[in-house]
């Protein structure tokens, strides 16, 4: 069975590293893997997307619409922007904090993160809203947002990978001095989605 995970956010949030970790872990499990990254102009604060596909038979590096098992969104509006990739019944893990574009501050394009979360609550059956800022604060580093969110996605079980699978990949992917905080953030993220206190539960309906 193929698994598709779409990661989205704003340039500079660490989306690419998170997608690499998933891909490494899948490859280690002997799966076929394809990914597609946003590299270039958009990395300067624009919308970025990574597609990760793993399984037995994969051709396109991009996930077809309505077939992502998981959307891992670093920002609420980016989750909404990519919502049509999510398959029916798929999981969305969304960071709570909105990143306002400069255009919003200038008043050209008003934007409210809460409105986006509302839309997600209505349309996504399995939604996990994660307070990434809080996890970063507890883990003691603002740079572990990507791993924290990834942890929540793993905790949901929808990726077919375990937190341990990713932990093994962390070694090679981050500098040794940051391995511990990243592990910590990964575990906190996973615990959230595994229904422990201190996070927003998937919406009941």
């Amino acid at each position: 069975m193929n698994k598709n995970c779409l990661l989205c956010g704003v340039g500079g949030q660490g989306v690419v590293l998170a997608s690499k970790l998933i891909a490494y872990a899948a490859l280690e499990k002997g799966l076929k893997v394809r990914t597609s990254e946003t590299i270039g102009m958009s990395q300067r604060g624009g919308s970025v997307v990574s597609h990760v596909r793993m399984g037995e038979e994969i051709y396109s590096p991009m996930i077809p619409m309505h077939s992502a098992d998981v959307i891992l969104a670093f920002e609420p509006a980016e989750a909404v922007r990519n919502l049509s990739y999510l398959k029916k019944g798929g999981v969305a893990v969304v960071n709570k904090k909105a990143v306002k574009p400069v255009t919003a501050a200038l008043g050209q394009s008003p934007y409210d993160g809460e409105e986006m979360l509302c839309c997600l609550r209505k349309q996504v059956e399995q939604l996990y809203v994660v307070d990434g800022e809080e996890i970063c604060r507890r883990a003691g580093s603002p740079k572990v947002l990507n791993v924290a969110l990834l942890g929540a996605a793993l905790g949901s079980g929808a990726l077919g990978l375990s937190p341990g699978d990713i932990e093994r990949q962390l070694e090679g992917a981050v500098k040794p001095q940051f391995a511990a905080v990243n592990r910590e953030a990964l575990r906190m993220g996973a615990a959230l989605a595994q229904n422990r206190p201190g996070y927003e539960r998937p919406e009941e309906r």
Partner: protein
């Protein structure tokens, strides 16, 4: 052997290392940049000479020289880079090479990060060179070694043309062992071979035409071109590049499929075999209708009763990139009998209502020195009539509001020369030209010589951030480091300008606003070519010294800092102006423009 996760560009770079490449040159450009960087990262013994050349023309010529001396050489660039390198390319096609030479020009359907949607396959046909067109990172990896072999066998450069989704897509790849790197034979003098003259070009032209007929036959049985699917079908699909993979994602049945990996010279015999027995063909490809035209030609030449559909017949779109969805839609129209396709396409149409999404154009980073430079020029100019010619790099983003300081942008280097044309026709305007340091070396210098020679009034503003930022921070001649890891002589922008004869050259730190504004005012007084060099490193190549915060007791919430600078770190929390600490880089420009002295430096981690 275990598979490694490699990005298409890494695969191409590693394949070149595996193929025993001796010399690798290039100029950065999305989506090609990581190829050369991969070679440099896999060159511990320094047996490969790797260089960022000053531009693509230089890169191609250096690589040609290496190949004349019998070396295996690789040149990398983005598609528009081949425009810059087209002069040597066209002639080199006639002269040929001795060692294997592979030219990678990466195309960018969309375009996602480029000025044009040009199609390098045309450059193959135009220069009469063989072209390989991979569908995936794996295929790109395999093609590199074969391109080198073909190049050596036929003494011709070979083009590899991946597209963004292949370059920036990753796949698990078995990389195998490196081939033994051969010591190049060296240059053997032979003026009848290496000195291009009209007579030589005429003789070689005949040989090239004959060779391409042969190559078309060779390619008909090449492993990158094949026929698959239902061989008895009446409808066929022809495809190449990443579009082929999109087609494979759809639920297709009852069609014959042609996959093309060498669009030039076109594998004619295979195409005849494919078209025979078909009544209709749909071509799925990105950018220009290259395969489509070839099939129309083959059908006509062999009087085959088949209709070829694609971009020319408006059955597929002729701009932008393809996707699984666009391809599925094209297919469901072409194959109405194929129920699965229609069902999939209809499903894709259903989408829930969503609120209006914020637009998120790329912006100059918080702390970017370019923002300060643009602001300083704007302040200095005030109400005077001025036109700002910009160029390609991060600083193109200075066009966004509120800065609005880029009035023109064409191609690399054109800021300097377009400003001259504008000024000649409208001499009452002050004409600024903004150019980045890497762009200055790549193609700005000739424009300055032109202005000095012709005595045109322009103000050149060099935005020296000590790196090639837009493409991911590569070193360049002004940085003093090379891709061999060596420290080398820095080429001084001041001295270059002095040498050309620019009379007035002022260097300033843009983050010191009063100094920066004074520098611009100073040069605005004079005439002829004047230059300001704004020197301050890109935030990606330095560490943040401190950060700034708003003192709420002094802040009047006037919003001047937001409205004037457009810094992504400055927003409002409710009404209160707020500097996001995780984004602030401590440039201090906002503090310098705040009339109420309400923005203060915070040192360390307060």
């Amino acid at each position: 052997m275990a598979k490694r996760l490699l990005m298409g560009n890494e695969a191409i770079g590693l394949a070149a290392v595996r193929a025993g490449v001796n010399l690798v040159c290039g100029y950065p450009g999305t989506p090609s940049t990581e190829i050369l960087e991969t070679v440099a990262a896999n060159n511990q013994d320094k047996r490969i000479h790797v260089q960022w050349s000053v531009n693509e023309k230089a890169a191609l010529e250096v690589a040609a020289g290496g190949a004349y001396a019998g070396a295996r050489t690789l040149v990398t660039m983005k598609q528009v880079g081949l425009n810059v390198a087209s002069d040597p390319l066209m002639s080199l096609a006639y002269v040929g090479v001795k060692g294997g030479m592979v030219i990678v020009a990466a195309d960018d359907p969309g375009p996602i990060s480029s000025q044009t949607e040009q199609d390098t396959r045309h450059f193959g046909a135009f220069s009469k060179l063989p072209v390989f067109d991979p569908v995936s990172p794996e295929e790109a990896f395999d093609m590199v070694g074969e391109a080198f072999d073909l190049s050596e066998q036929y003494h011709t450069p070979v083009i590899l043309r991946p597209t963004t989704r292949v370059c920036h897509g990753c796949a698990g790849i078995e990389t195998g062992e490196s081939q033994k790197r051969k010591a190049p034979e060296g240059f053997v003098k032979d003026t009848a071979r290496w000195v291009i003259f009209p007579r030589l070009s005429y003789e070689n032209h005949k040989k090239i035409e004959a060779r391409n007929v042969e190559l078309s036959k060779v390619f008909s049985s090449c492993r990158y071109n094949w026929i698959e699917g239902d061989l008895e079908a009446e409808k066929g699909i022809a495809s190449g590049g990443v579009s082929y993979t999109y087609m494979k994602e759809t639920d297709l049945e009852g069609v014959k499929i042609l996959k093309i990996g060498t669009p030039h010279p076109f594998p004619e015999e295979l195409a005849v075999q494919f078209l025979t027995g078909l009544s209709e063909v749909l071509v799925l490809e990105e950018l220009d209708p290259v395969i489509e035209k070839e099939l129309v030609y083959v059908a006509g030449k062999y009087h085959l009763p088949v209709t070829v559909r694609g971009k020319l017949t408006k059955d597929t779109k002729n701009a932008g990139e393809n996707s699984v969805e666009s391809v599925r839609e094209d297919l469901s129209r072409f194959l109405p009998e194929c129920k699965n396709l229609r069902k999939q396409a209809e499903e894709a149409d259903k989408a829930g209502e969503v609120p209006k999404l914020p637009v998120r154009p790329p912006v100059l980073c918080a702390g970017c020195p370019h923002r300060a430079s643009f602001y300083a020029v704007k302040e200095a100019v005030g109400q005077r009539k001025a036109v700002y010619s910009g160029d390609i790099g991060c600083y193109t983003l200075g066009n966004a509001k509120p800065l609005d300081m880029v009035d023109t942008c064409l191609c690399m280097g054109a800021d300097v020369t377009v400003a001259q044309g504008l000024h000649i026709i409208e001499p009452d305007a002050v004409n600024f030209s903004f150019i980045g340091d890497s762009t200055f070396f790549a193609s700005g210098i000739t424009g300055v010589v032109n202005a000095v020679y012709n005595g045109t009034d322009i103000i050149l503003v060099v935005l020296d951030n000590s790196t090639t930022a837009m493409t991911g921070h590569q070193p360049h001649p002004g940085t003093g480091v090379t891709m061999m890891g060596d420290v080398t002589q820095k080429v001084s922008i001041e001295k270059v300008l002095e040498g050309i004869g620019v009379q007035k050259i002022v260097t300033a730190d843009p983050l010191n606003l009063s100094e920066a504004v004074a520098a611009v005012r100073d040069v605005m007084e004079g005439s002829k070519v004047r230059a300001v060099i704004f020197r301050s490193p890109c935030i990606a190549v330095t560490k943040a010294a401190s950060r700034y915060k708003v003192e709420e007791s002094k802040c009047t919430s006037c919003g001047q800092c937001i409205r004037k600078l457009g810094c992504p770190a400055i927003t409002r929390k409710k009404e209160q102006v707020w500097i996001e600490p995780s984004l602030c880089f401590g440039c201090g420009v906002c503090a310098q423009i705040c009339k109420f002295h309400a923005i203060k430096e915070v040192s360390g981690h307060e």
